[in-house]
Symmetry: C2
Subunit: 283 residues, 2 copies
Amino acid sequence: MKIGIIGLGLIGGSIAKALRKSHEISAFDINKEALTFAIENNIIDKAYFDLEAFLNNNNLIYLCLYPESIVSFFKENSRLIKKDTIFIEISGIKTKLIQDIRKLNLNYIDIVYTHPIAGREVSGVFFADEKIFFNGNYAIINDQNTKTENLELAYSLAKEMGFKNISKINAKLHDQIIAYTSQLTHIISLSLVNSFSNSVDLSHFTGDSYRDLTRIANININLWADLFTNNKNALIDIIANFENELSKFKNALATNNLEELETLMEKAKNKHNKYLEGNKNES
Amino acid sequence: MKIGIIGLGLIGGSIAKALRKSHEISAFDINKEALTFAIENNIIDKAYFDLEAFLNNNNLIYLCLYPESIVSFFKENSRLIKKDTIFIEISGIKTKLIQDIRKLNLNYIDIVYTHPIAGREVSGVFFADEKIFFNGNYAIINDQNTKTENLELAYSLAKEMGFKNISKINAKLHDQIIAYTSQLTHIISLSLVNSFSNSVDLSHFTGDSYRDLTRIANININLWADLFTNNKNALIDIIANFENELSKFKNALATNNLEELETLMEKAKNKHNKYLEGNKNES
């Protein structure tokens, strides 16, 4: 197939690498350096520096933009897009995005909302690596307005990319889960880094637990500010749940309630071991 | 040297493996299975099933017990301990431990309070591995009652074990830092696991961030309940700091304050990059 990619960053570039084995990949990006790099490094077959020409030559397009940019992309370019073009969108939040796009009445195209749950602490096509998808998770939103055949197309392409678990799920539940597994974890990591102010050289006193919990504090600020604000309600709800669980530990400590402390630890340990079993059963 | 180890678990066993290249290692444990395993697997030179004989034959002893057990060990066995025996203690908290031990008036022995900042999500001598120390951090408490020559002895043995940064520090500051880098991180991980109650199979929707933040939720409950409660005041203080930083994020989201949100992210990212630089400069 001919597959186009708009937005050639870490994910767009990794998709290109993953799919180029069996498909012809072209790309458009406003960043000419990214396109030049991708051509020179054999990541894509063809670079378009003109959006109209790119859109005229592609019927299937991975749209790899930040949520806010997706809406403005469609607003600004809707008249350039051919009828029946299929877009596979890959951003990390869905409910608000789908609402915003619905308002644009783009009835002459089809959009598949998907989320490859993968990433790295670096950005840009320079770090593109198809291995970030291997054995990973991929969510496809079963939106009523997306054609079933295109849901299946996105599914089979995700399989080709090497994802292990590909789930169809509704937008609201997706956003609740991602608020927890991805957004809350980043906010925790950032808050953890911000909560110690002593000037001692921490690098002499940390072990794996601190290193693991703070790795993602090296964050792509623009991307994540966009993701956080576009999933604000689900995120605030899950932060509140987390605060509540944290305060249970604090209270058990403050009241010397060892039994409660151990009960809380036991609950978490059991839940986590079930999660690890879930991972194992599928590998 | 002849070196004894009391408490042959993950850390005691790893110390044995690390030091056995140049020293003769014997061990005592109330768990006979651990001793038998260590002999059969060539981890120690000699196993003692009798504490009195062990104490009579060792002048330098790594005491690898949980904090609560250290105090009761000295209470119950002080009459068996030879004059001038040197103990190197390796637990994760110090202020309360040193206070409790001081009350016992053990003036005929010397105790070096140290903390190898290393561990794994598993316990027991069966998982002993000296590699958990390589390039790691080690803290030695410069307690006024410990002889300088024994602080130096603990220092040079930590070097032999492969630790990279060996710091001398006072007990109070050690406990404040560890409350942050080690104990808070574990409580965060446990609280994170406890804060989602939907029955969906999470293993289909998680990426590296969730896996990193929850790895340590597979916790050794007895050990950590002991560590938490023995460092209760420092831990409650740092939980409160963390709650405060977390609420800044929540408030910035709730009030749509994008500027504040980005400022908080920027602050964390910069702090974390300084921490990473600190690590790099020493490797």
